[in-house]
Amino acid sequence: MKIGVLVSEGPYTHQASDSAYNFVKAAIEKGHEIYRVFFYHDGVNNATRLTEPPRDDRNIVNRWSELSKQHNLDLVVCIAAAQRRGIMDANEAKRQGKDADNLAEGFRISGLGQLVEAGIQCDRLVTFGD
């Protein structure tokens, strides 16, 4: 089955990102295809490279990056939500005249159409939020 996931909250403050991550891992283990994980609202904050959480706890951003690399996942960060919250890749930072970019590895920034497209192409779309 083709499954899409929507993550609507940022790391740590809400459990959404953790639940989504655990769900995605379990779905992969069961042989399903994770078509896309789309990060919206504060969910875009899961994609900051500048995270440095305490060492004795899970590193939410890094484990998404690692899972993405391991399974060639499509982790998409909504550009409009990202612009509002200051998540930028190098191109976007240059375009906007910013002096830094912060997008973590394994994520890409794109438009809301990617969420709608996932809804169309997937068999199931699961929302994790507040």
Partner: protein, 99 residues
């Protein structure tokens, strides 16, 4: 339809609204703080038990355990792991999350 509820019934009205709008024969999966809705002895116990006449209710084991309430799950609630969560998603033709 699979309904996923992630908020405590004492914090939000998500479970209440879900139960009001879930058709007979649907399934409700409680995750995150939503699992408190599956515990014995609370003021929503009667409501949830009543709902189970028409709906199948599930609770995510990992969330029950994390919160120290795995020992008081309501009779009739099925505890599932993340694999079971995935199966529920696959087995229902549509789903929605009550945030």
């Amino acid at each position: 339809m699979l309904h996923i509820v992630n908020k405590s019934p004492f914090d939000r009205n998500s479970l209440e609204s879900c139960l009001r709008l879930a058709k007979k024969g649907s399934a409700v999966l409680l995750i995150e703080d939503g699992v408190y809705g599956a515990t014995k002895g609370s003021s929503v116990e009667v409501k949830v038990q009543g709902a189970m006449a028409n709906l199948k209710v599930y609770a995510l084991g990992a969330d029950l355990q994390a919160r120290g309430v795995a020992d008081r799950v309501l009779d009739g609630v099925t505890v599932v792991d993340y694999g079971g969560f995935v199966d529920l998603v696959a087995d229902h033709s549509n789903l929605q999350s009550w945030l």
